[in-house]
Amino acid sequence: MNIGVVLRQVPDLIEPLEVDASGTALDLSAATFVVNETDDHALEQALLLKESGGGTVTVVALDFGEVDNTLYTAAAKGADRILKLAWDESQSPTPHRAAAALAEALRTLAPDLVLVGVQAHDELDGALAPLLAARLGWPYVGVIRGVKQAAEGGSVVVCKEFPGAVMARLVVRLPAVLGILGAEQPPRYVPVSRIRAAMKSTRFEEAAHAAGTGPAGIAVTHMAPPPAGARAEMIAGSDTEVAQRIVEILAQKGLLK
């Protein structure tokens, strides 16, 4: 099975997020980027499928948000090909713009299966994975944890998560796009030495892609961190002091038996 995987860079939420001068968009020039977590799971799932059933894994990414390190890491983990699509850094890769570019490259690649993270935390007016499916004209299902080759050829068996740790097993005829929430195993670790080696041996390929426009009829009028509303009463002090205060609170509420 030949699998296409999309990797996106997103602002790291550990760092403070800033809003730009327009007041309606994230200031991406101030952000530190990391690979989108569910995309990282999509890559892991693709590598697991390749290891169990053969085929290839091709990563497709926009050249945005310090993506090179993520791509070398993907190569070190076992991705066979890396397509890096030229991108104007001044343009934020909104889901609609990104979908237009990535769909074009994926159409040419013509994989059997496309795995994409079901969500990226910076998505607001579109979700990339279903947009890609719509552009490719392929079926889509998301919130998937675990993909396996089906006994019948040309299909995969997926688990879709529902509340209460319930899963639904679905059979998906290929080609298809899947929105991955989790891989069957946590994303693998590769030592830095292997990433360094990948930096020397990996050649990023370019691919033709189309420009897209955002959706019509929707606009951001204001953006800000959430207002400090009913915030928690913060307990200050050393670890011991904080612990003692929490224990007092629990005792007062009758929670210490």
């Binding site: 910076d122 947009l131 529902f162 946590p186 009829g217 009028t221 961190p225 915030r231 629990l250």
Partner: protein
């Protein structure tokens, strides 16, 4: 039905209406206001009439009954939803940010080339537009959106609206569609239920919850020790379960359990909306996180900005000292 109607996708999960349905109906009621529009609930199901009596908060209940809708598969659900929305031209379609909603809302918007907003927490109707407050970046950013094209497809975060009471006209209207609803490329096979035998975290009075901030599998032992002295159990956010450090039955949140203990102690959990929806109604929430901007502090009653790995043993010791 008119262009000022608000359509709500009623969600049926394993034979019952999901709670989100009633929250969406409340949101819809707030939007129709004095516009003369109706709150319309759409039930996509097999034998959907059985759910009509519970949908008294709607003015109209549209039933699409079909064997292909007995269990969820995206294609027949999308075909039915798209046909109803096209035929009835509502002002907005409200869909929950659930497992099904994460498929159907973006797919519907893509099919109809309609505007889509994710993470909706508040929605109001202005003259010619809808104003939407949407949460993103794991709850660390809020955007105000203006949508001036119908239908607006709004994916609503669970827990954002108080469930609606029965107050509508509740007229039931069966629908016949022209679209073929036979499942095509994606076929539902069966539900897989979690293995029984583990602790049922929904039945615990005290939960010690650990998130990615716990850093290593070995550190879960620190939480176990605290749970033991408190007489509670350990639960977790998704990344901890993804790592295989705890079973899925211990996960709290959208795909995990919804809990309402007397005490929820959160260690190293940022408080993303998907986690909050499973625990925000806990009676007492105490959150420990090194990041003062962590959204968990927005819903916690008490918070401390300290290292969870240091505080866990300090708490065990303080409780031990108190018990003597």
């Amino acid at each position: 039905m008119s262009g000022s109607d608000i359509l709500v996708l009623a969600e049926v999960h394993r034979g019952t209406l999901a709670d989100i349905t009633f929250e969406l109906l409340a949101a819809a009621r707030g939007l129709v206001g004095g516009s003369g529009g109706e709150v319309v609930a759409l039930v996509l199901s097999e034998n959907g009439a059985a759910f009509a009596p519970a949908l008294g908060a709607a003015d109209r209940i549209l039933l699409v009954d079909h064997s292909a809708l007995a269990n969820y598969a995206p294609e027949p659900f999308l075909a039915a939803l798209a046909e109803v929305v096209t035929a009835r031209s509502p002002r907005a379609v409200l869909i929950g940010a659930t497992s099904i909603g994460w498929d159907l809302a973006p797919l519907l918007a893509a099919r109809l080339d309609a505007p889509l907003a994710l993470g909706c927490k508040a929605i109001s109707a202005e003259d010619s537009a809808l104003a939407v407050t949407a949460s993103f970046c794991g709850g660390k950013m809020v955007a105000e959106l203006r949508i001036d094209r119908a239908p607006a497809v709004l994916m609503v975060l669970p827990g954002s609206f108080r469930a609606a009471e029965a107050a509508g006209k509740a007229q039931v209207e069966p629908c016949t569609l022209s679209a073929s609803l036979e499942p095509a490329a994606i076929r539902f096979e069966e539900f897989l239920l979690p293995e029984a035998g583990d602790v049922d975290i929904t039945q615990q009075d005290i939960l010690v919850a650990v998130g990615r901030g716990i850093q290593q599998k070995e550190n879960i032992e620190l939480a176990e020790q605290l749970a033991q002295v408190l007489g509670g159990a350990v639960c977790a956010s998704r990344p901890v379960v993804d790592q295989g450090w705890l079973p899925t039955t211990r996960q709290v949140g959208k795909s995990g359990m919804t809990v309402r203990p007397k005490l929820y102690l959160a260690f190293g959990i940022s408080g993303a909306p998907e986690h909050q929806e499973g625990m925000k109604n806990s009676e007492l929430i105490v959150a420990v996180n090194t990041d003062p901007r962590a959204p968990i502090f927005d819903i916690a009653h008490y918070g401390a900005q300290v290292d969870a790995l240091e505080l866990l043993p300090a708490l065990v010791e303080a409780i031990g000292a108190r018990k003597g």
